[in-house]
Symmetry: D2
Subunit: 222 residues, 4 copies
């Protein structure tokens, strides 16, 4: 598999509404022009607008462990699927879920034939995450998120150990590496450590020139 | 003001995605044909699709007390506004919020010039709700929600006392009455008790013939 | 009523276990020697040990809105009462509760003939708090908590307006003023603004000489 | 190791305050008379009173992932330790925790040289639980809790598979089996399936004759 680049739009102004659509189109253009695997994860309110305008996969940033019925205000997995999402982040460090709910969400995404990216914060939770059999575990040491210090360079041992533990517990689970990733060098380091790609946000979303930042990131792949 | 009818689509299958859009169009047709004030509150993922297809106001079922930035997975108020929402339910019984967060949400909705409908569950919380100065307080005794037993008929005293307490604490705050409302008689009773309208869900969303159910509901107004 | 001084031990090391007991005894000695109204609020695990060793009232820092039955791990109001607590803080800024749960807790404390101190963070939530009819509303602007900047001096208008709003909405509800209170001057200012006392923590609990700090605080009262 | 019997007092009236103390003494008597390993898990408010009156280990029903400082109303692990607890349940089905918080709690209990019993609800979460390296994983299918239908007899395969998965992922982690356990036969079945003991509540706490129920439970061991 070609390395995967997942771009989390968070609730950044630059990733919301019209600006979110604009950014998704940049990602779409770059992905197709250079044959790169890019996934965008905009806010729930923007999934429909973006998924109907781009060809690359659109993921939700979260789903709630609820079913059709009386769950006013919650994010029904089926609702993001019908809006065009083909997967979801789960348990991002800014949206931590209960263990039992994580398991429910992964199972539900499988039923809906959607892809799950389960975020973890250290080696211990990465092992637990792998045991839950999501499609991807994305390891993101919280102290590096948004820091500009790439985990792949600052803490290569954590990434390496995480990749190995995931393989040991469940070889089918793929790994992403997040936190502080922004340039091509970070991506290259992540892949050399055995991950299947990166999860990043501010490095692209908040870049002055988003397209340039994205091209800089994917340099090792083109 | 003409009585207001707010229809909460919850996470009902009949109110999700394409079916949600279809239901919103029914509401839109009826509202315009008969000159009725109807607001629809679909899931966040469906706001954009619906708001770009109907003329009646579209509300969110919830917003989170977050600001532009690092709040992955949360419902940014600005995101639902950009998607076409002109207001939001807050603190629905299926999505209870912390007191401090309710206050933050109401203030934010005001800043965004959006309408707030704050749900409460009994007279004491209705008084607290009125003190927070939302545009509307919607009183919904939880034991009657989805029961088919209209609060306006089963517990007229609670509704009447709530209306009076709201007026005493803040006469500018309007009141809705929810829980168990489904037919014209319930709406009529609610208005006679001094409310400004009703908040309902299953009575319309899960009706075999949604249009017929809606026409039945608004009979006292046409 | 003589001014009330409520000392929240938080989870400070200096307020936990044996040290918590020692501090409670200092408060007890001072309260009785100088005829001052002091209440201590230690952690739940320490309530029994402290309440069986001192004469002054012991409050819980929190209760959960649960009843006898299957609520493993929650703080049953009856359990803190049986351990000797005669009241509880509710909705402290470090333990925010949902509006509906606050109302449930206040009602339960009344049933158990216990005293409720409901914390609020600004004028709007103070008004809502007063509407819920606790025994006390304690206003604590979160930005001043633990700051050493006394709210009674830094934001006298917030305190004054809060006191007036509480009186307007429910004259039976008393007010405390918290955040940044540590010395006699702060207490004096709070009382001159019309409050019935103060809620404080670090100013006493983390003082090098806790007894001296307490004597300094109560100077205007002796 | 002799089979372990952990009795969760929940917030049952029969396990609160004086009645909780009485029940703990019954457990203590039986444990010593018959040489059985019994642990009691009363409410936090009762830990001190009970731990100073019995010889058997006393566990907390929960701890919060907080440290010394400003965490008003939370259960500081050090506070229950200082009150005499030598371990804690974590993530009981009535007190579900976030994955990251579970990991923090297990690590903290290890630092404090306390025993951790991590509850799980199915095979998938049991595997994740084992990866987090608590001392015990207690598998409790939520649908059987309080049902009187023993998991060890109703769903032996779930228990057996759980035991095997735990061994595969981390052979040092021991297993308990909960939900519906009340009589000696249930305990026997649990042990034959390879568990190291049982976690139970209503079967003992709510029994008309608690001592008789306990003797009935331990019959296979004496």
């Amino acid at each position: 598999m070609k390395p995967l680049i997942v771009i989390n739009f968070k609730t950044y102004a630059e990733g919301t509404g019209n600006l979110g659509l604009k950014l998704a189109k940049i990602c779409d253009d770059v992905a197709r022009e250079y044959g790169i695997n890019i996934i965008v994860a905009p806010q729930v309110a923007d999934i429909y607008r973006i998924s109907t305008s781009v060809k690359i996969p659109v993921f939700s940033q979260n789903i709630d462990p609820v079913v059709y019925g009386s769950s006013t205000g919650h994010v029904l997995p089926e609702s993001v699927k019908e809006s065009g999402a083909s997967g979801s982040l789960i348990n991002h460090s800014e949206m931590r879920l209960r263990l039992a709910d994580i398991e429910t969400c992964i199972k539900k995404l499988k039923e809906l034939r959607m892809i799950s990216i389960l975020c973890s914060n250290n080696i211990a939770t990465t092992k637990a995450a792998a045991a839950l059999e999501p499609n991807f575990v994305a390891i993101e040491p919280p102290e590096l998120i948004g820091s500009g210090i790439p985990v792949s360079k600052a803490q290569p041992k954590i990434v390496l150990d995480s990749v190995n533990e995931v393989k040991r517990i469940n070889p089918k689970v793929k790994t992403l590496c997040g936190a502080g990733i922004s340039i091509g060098e970070d991506l290259k380091a992540a892949i050399e450590l055995g991950t299947d790609g990166v999860l990043l946000a501010s490095g692209i979303v908040k870049a002055k020139d988003q397209k340039k930042a994205l091209l800089n990131l994917i340099k090792p792949l083109i």
